[in-house]
Symmetry: C2
Subunit: 609 residues, 2 copies
């Protein structure tokens, strides 16, 4: 689920994205800037100030300097050494994209980043960082790890000084969601937020996440690929009108009208002065240390006695609890996506046996079928289409240089989704052509059993995703295997395909609540051989059992699961019943929306297991 | 699992333990001391300086003042008001034991204690506490909650001033475990501990938990009921000999010889001076803020620049990972206990149908059958024997005033255990007489399915008990019900029946490791009707699957589970197979050790489901 850095198109592109030849001259230019600034190094993170998975072109500094286009990472450029720190997803991609003679690629986890960075930092060094691109939590952690070795120094961004043709901030049209799409007015959402601010005994909060701001003001934009963001900041006082800070070029009469009088719009360049004034009055300001740029905290703290109250962004939780209208939109989006997936799977079953399909053919066909629906706005992420061994690379992105022909007997992992005006989708199906082996069927069935266990789970109010994660893993664990990713993440309503604060994995301690929409996607990956993942979106709903104190999931995704990959004898009766009921529902909901050979295919694909 | 405060006997006693008439004069005396000390209140916790579940007679200050004999709680005695704060287990027992006209009984959780205490504390008050009986974590938390209202002031213990006939410190014989029982010498364990201290870059640690000290020095005592503790403290420097601080009366030539030259023994009263000297050299000292008394921290910090490094007691984890000899001892103890349980269950099946058995009859019979084994040293806790509705009280203690006759058709929950020289046991069986209802069988079977799910679980190295807890709950959750206690706790080797740092519940994030022994005890409680719990001890072992990267459980407890309470159609084939294999093993291991009617009974009880 990486972003498209080089071309702002809604079509997935399959270019090999980076050119390692740029690395040497850019490092040279950056080192000249280091010398001019009397710094011994500079940190270049993947993130922009808004912490999104996609960043606009002008914020892709990590790719500009190192060539690495992954969705997470941090480079350190010192006077002599340079290093690129990536997580385990990117240990193949990063060396392929950068110049490894000049840049050391180092695998890290959040826990080991500091100590691994320490080895590249000169003793007594002054290391610069851009305070707009780091959170206080990050800098505190790194500072502690570098203690007695180097100091971290905020500075203006050195990359921007050498990036002469750096693209400007995106200016895309802003749309406002009416009540029929948002379900609640911005005024109502603001009233709730003000109540939260009162409960937390704070005078204001600064929102820096576009998903929070877009949701709060019922607006969407096209500033970055894959996610309908308007990039900006918002200052929300407990009393009085909030201010939305946007790039000046975006401020139009239509925008002001669309905000319906609930917020003032101001040029982003005026924000810092406003924050300093805010602090000057000895206020208590709620900020999220996990996502707020240090620059904002410093602006508030720097001038006054203002107390920073560190709490999670107060919009994340209400946003995750979708209202009835948002739920209706998400259901509509899954139906539209179900139609596209039915067309795609039917096409695949016809074409794949000919043995000529490549990963790019498959991703292109799927996108074209999604695009038959006029309300599709974008893909929610670049389709992951991994044939055979490529399927075992969890965040695989197909490019012309990696593109692989699907051979009979190989599994094909297709993880994809769309941004429809009604909502966001995210679905994975593992498909195949030829004859599956006993091992492939065993693994597929264990993954499916885990997916069904989550689908059928019931749990008391207050239960977190961390507590139920094992239900998805237990059948793989019985055979001594597992998968190294979470079982599920939150999904936004026509917003981020990955959203917090709830999810299903050991790191999600937030209790699940009615209205939350999560992915349910266990998998299994055999390196060098194949990958299996089955993913549906599920909605948290009140359970009919447990006297109002229990919750369960309602599955939203409407696409058949390939019965030919199931090892019959591993399924229990309740699991088979679930699968048959699911397929019956898929037929009932999608059948009337498709015709001809697709309808025939769907009838067959949803027949009883 | 409460302790016996009034009589130091290895026999469980069933007295109604406290007399509310003492409360008035003792509060009066304490208030005179408050006035003399110019204090506005005093805190009286249940804990002693060693944080054990059982405390010696002279440390039972909470019971002395309030009459309340539960295993956890805190009293506040102010000039005018007094309050007793207890958790949800004790909301029935506490009011029954204290004088509720003089003492407000208030239910609290750890999260709400501070704010509820605040309501009883006078504005501007000085509240005394004994720094030996509180941890820094506790006082910090309470201090924050009382901020702007009252200050907490360390003082000598006011209760001790009024408790004229207060029993002295216990002086019980100390035994040393030879290599055949401990498996590793104290010198080896100390070498490991010193390595940990080096890794943590500290110069010394002070151990305050008797389980840590007893394990480290391979010694056991009888200072408190139920757990073979020697009460004391130990100072372990990274270099040089550790010092064991004990009550002077305990120090004998045999003790010194038993320590085999690995440790010096000193009078407990000399410890504070030694700690002050330790601090004086600007040392780094590792202390566990969750269990170390403030008095010790103050002694070290008070005089010098010593740095306190707050970490978990470094003995807890190695102690929890039992070695082969300890595991062998624990298995032997479960066999001995299996014999006693077989005798008991046979007796029960013969006697119960007559309809005359009371809870006390049942607990007494079980203890007498355990005591037929000469290596039994004590019960590991007072047997919980709850008939019918009493079974639904999770920490029920039968006394003459609550004793209940078991009626036909009622379930009987029996949770019990022994301290054998070879190891500690803890087992719960739910038994019955008459005819079980369909609902009882349904609930029993769901609890059993959860117990079996844990028994059969496999999981990757690094998995915590928090992650697998849901396996035990899932079948109850499916029907909208649950239980409000952990699924499992650690169990010591001839030591505490509850030990950290691992367990099975959402609060145990410590990874499970080979050699850990845990209880596996899901339950279900229907208030006013019945309680069900099924508990085995399990050992964490490497799994034959998963290429050395997976773990699983080996069940240690050897006692049949009542097949007559099972709803056949709820069991899956793998569950039935597990149960049959378990019963086959019980018969194979316990069958040869019993005779006559017990053998006949066991044969029948372990027949195929």
């Amino acid at each position: 689920m990486t972003e498209s850095v080089l071309a702002p198109t809604i079509y997935q592109n399959f270019d090999t994205r980076s050119d390692p030849h740029h690395v040497a001259p850019r490092l040279r230019a950056l080192r000249a800037e280091l010398a001019a600034s009397r710094l011994d190094g500079f940190l270049i993170p993947r993130a922009d100030a808004h912490r999104g998975e996609s960043v606009p072109l002008g914020e892709a500094r990590l790719a500009y300097v190192t060539g690495f286009t992954g969705s997470a990472g941090l480079a350190f450029v010192g006077i002599k050494k340079a290093a690129l720190f990536v997580d385990s997803r990117y240990t193949i991609q990063a060396p392929a994209e950068t110049n490894t003679r000049l840049v050391n690629v180092v695998e890290v986890s959040p826990a080991t980043l500091g100590e691994k960075l320490r080895k590249f930092v000169p003793q007594g060094g002054r290391i610069g960082y851009d305070p707009w691109l780091h959170t206080p939590a990050e800098i505190k952690e790194l500072g502690e790890k570098l203690k007695d070795r180097a100091v971290l120094v905020p500075t203006s961004n050195l990359v921007d000084r050498i990036w002469t043709d750096r693209p400007g901030a995106p200016v895309s049209p802003v749309e406002f969601l009416g009540h029929n799409r948002a379900g609640r007015s911005s005024a109502e959402k603001l009233a709730d937020l003000r109540k939260t601010l009162a409960d937390e005994n704070v005078d204001a909060t600064v929102l820096t996440l576009p998903e929070s701001i877009c949701w709060l003001f019922n607006m969407r934009g096209r500033d970055v690929p894959n996610t309908p963001f308007v990039l900006g900041f918002a200052l929300v006082p407990r009393k009085g009108r909030p201010t939305l800070y946007l790039d000046k070029a975006k401020i139009s009469p239509e925008l002001k009208e669309g905000l319906g009088g609930v917020a003032t719009v101001a040029d982003a360049r005026t924000m810092m002065a406003a924050l300093r004034r805010l602090g000057g009055a000895d206020k208590r300001v709620l900020l999220d240390p996990a996502t707020c740029p240090i620059a904002i905290i410093d602006a508030i703290k720097g001038v006054s006695q203002a107390v920073i109250v560190e709490k999670r962004d107060p919009v994340l939780l209400p946003k995750a609890r979708k209202n009835e209208v948002e739920i209706g939109g998400m259901k509509e989006a899954q139906r539209l996506d179900g139609v596209a997936m039915a067309k795609f799977l039917c096409w695949f079953d016809l074409e794949a046996p000919k043995g000529k399909l490549t990963e790019i053919d498959i991703a292109t066909a799927l996108e074209s079928m999604r695009r038959e629906e006029p309300s599709l706005v974008d893909l929610s992420f670049d389709t992951i289409a991994g044939a055979g061994p490529n399927g075992a690379i969890v965040h695989y992105r197909v490019s012309r240089s990696t593109n692989r022909m699907l051979k009979p007997g190989e599994l094909m992992l297709v993880d994809s989704g769309g941004q429809y005006l009604s909502g966001t989708t995210d679905i994975t199906r593992t498909i195949f052509t030829g004859k599956a082996t006993a091992e492939q069927k065993d693994r597929f069935t264990r993954v499916l059993k885990g997916m069904i266990a989550i689908s059928m789970a019931r749990f008391p109010t207050g239960t977190s995703g961390a507590q139920i994660d094992v239900l998805a893993r237990q059948f793989l664990w019985q055979d001594g295997i597992t998968y190294n990713h979470g079982t599920g993440h939150g999904v936004g309503h026509f917003l981020s395909v990955h959203e917090g604060p709830a999810g299903i994995s050991s790191r999600y301690s937030t209790p699940l609540e009615p209205g939350m929409i999560l992915s349910n996607e266990p998998g299994y990956y055999k390196e060098g051989a194949y990958g299996i993942r089955i993913e549906n979106l599920v909605l948290v709903v009140e359970s009919p059992v447990g006297q109002g104190k229990f919750l369960e999931f309602e599955t939203l995704t409407l696409t058949p699961i390939d019965l030919r990959l199931i090892e019959e004898k591993l399924l229990t009766e309740p699991e088979r019943d679930w699968l048959n009921a699911y397929h019956k529902r898929v037929w009932k909901e999608i059948g009337p929306l498709v015709k001809g050979e697709v309808k025939t295919w769907l009838k067959e694909a949803t027949s009883r297991a």
